[in-house]
């Protein structure tokens, strides 16, 4: 088999995977669009979040905190804290992409759970790095298009649904967060941190304004991270999870989702 034919096959496989991930992420996008409009954001604001923020977990968090009466500063801070992981993804992916200037800005916007996972899943040295780079760009394009199309569909659909409480919106929002959390709960440590964070947030709820208990719970991650031994939670674990079916949050939201 010639090298050229092999690259053709590799490219086809990368593009097929990228399309699959984009379609999978679309489900979260429909959920986000519907929740956002039902939570009181306008159609334009909902689309702006998917087009500009483009990291699913942060988008869900912003909308969820606002729906719970948390105020915009707490909502924005929660979204930003959830976006911190994309900084680490960028660190990991920059040497693979090796881009500068405007292209780097585009790459940055596309740096989410899904693109990082799909790119790192390819052999970094295969085809002189073309495979890993194509996986990033193809997944980024696919997720960006499907995430925004899905948001559009969800937002239009929610507008037609009417009273949010009648369809259990207040139960849908925490269930959406649980679905985003689920793939990250692998092993004992994440479970322990999740439970302690939940207890801390509930314990503080009577004493702090809505939105603040969640931010306070972030300290649990900071303390656990500072105390952790070197073996805990390799940075690659979150993207790998995303690849096996979670969304992103942020990456592709949802989460990351686009996340």
């Amino acid at each position: 088999m010639s090298a050229a034919a092999t690259w053709t096959e590799e490219r086809r496989s990368v593009i097929r995977d990228a399309t699959g991930v984009g379609i999978a992420v679309g489900a979260y996008g429909i959920g986000f669009g519907a929740l956002s409009v039902a939570s009181g954001l306008s159609f334009a604001q909902t689309m702006a979040l998917s087009l500009l923020m483009f990291t699913g977990a942060s988008q869900f968090a912003l909308v969820g905190v606002i729906a719970a009466g948390g105020g915009s500063i707490a909502a924005g801070l929660t979204a930003l804290l959830l976006g911190v992981r994309n900084t680490l993804y960028g660190l990991r992916i920059a040497p693979v992409l090796q881009v500068t200037g405007f292209k780097r800005a585009i790459a940055a916007q596309l740096t989410i759970d899904e693109t990082t996972a799909m790119s790192l899943a390819r052999d970094e040295d295969a085809f002189e790095g073309r495979s890993a780079r194509l996986a990033f760009w193809a997944t980024g394009l696919s997720v960006y298009v499907f995430w925004n199309l899905a948001t559009l569909i969800g937002a239009l659909g929610a507008g037609a649904l009417g009273d949010p409480r009648a369809f259990g919106l207040d139960a849908v929002i925490p269930a959406a967060f649980l679905a985003l959390l689920w793939p990250r709960l692998k092993g004992r440590d994440p479970w322990a941190i999740a439970i302690i964070s939940a207890v801390v947030a509930l314990a503080l709820t009577p004493f702090l304004r809505p939105g603040l208990p969640v931010l306070a719970a972030a300290l649990v991650a900071v303390i656990a991270g500072l105390r952790a031994g070197p073996a805990l939670v390799p940075i690659s674990s979150a993207p790998r999870d995303a690849e096996t079916g979670a969304r992103e949050e942020d990456g592709a939201a949802p989460g990351g989702g686009p996340a």
């Binding site: 702006a48 942060s58 912003l62 979204a79 959830l82 369809f167 959390l181 991650a221």
Partner: protein, 102 residues
């Protein structure tokens, strides 16, 4: 609502750009990586808890608990995202409709 939508979108972009732009060694230490990997776990777990049990500053048990529990069962059965949230919504809405929960 527009200021928070635009400011936090810009902030999220700058967080992404920082990762692409800063020298590798600046952020690449194990403790920073651990914290960044654990932050989503902490925040999402806290969001699940608060949005299931809090109503303003009080803690209440209502139809949401049953809805989220049903969603958790759907997750254990490996249901896709849309099924999970629809199950949660339908269970909560159904309990309210039949007057079984607030």
């Amino acid at each position: 609502m527009w200021p928070v939508v635009l400011m936090s979108s810009l902030g999220c972009f700058l967080l992404k750009l920082t990762g692409q732009s800063v020298p590798q060694r600046l952020l690449d230490n194990p403790k920073v990586r651990h914290i960044a990997a654990l932050l989503p776990v902490s925040l999402l777990a806290a969001l699940v808890a608060v949005q299931t049990f809090a109503s303003g500053q009080s803690l209440v048990l209502d139809a949401r608990v049953a809805g989220v529990a049903a969603g958790a069962v759907a997750l254990m059965l490996r249901a896709p995202f849309l099924v999970v949230v629809i199950v949660a919504g339908v269970v909560a809405a159904g309990l309210r409709y039949w007057g079984l929960a607030a």
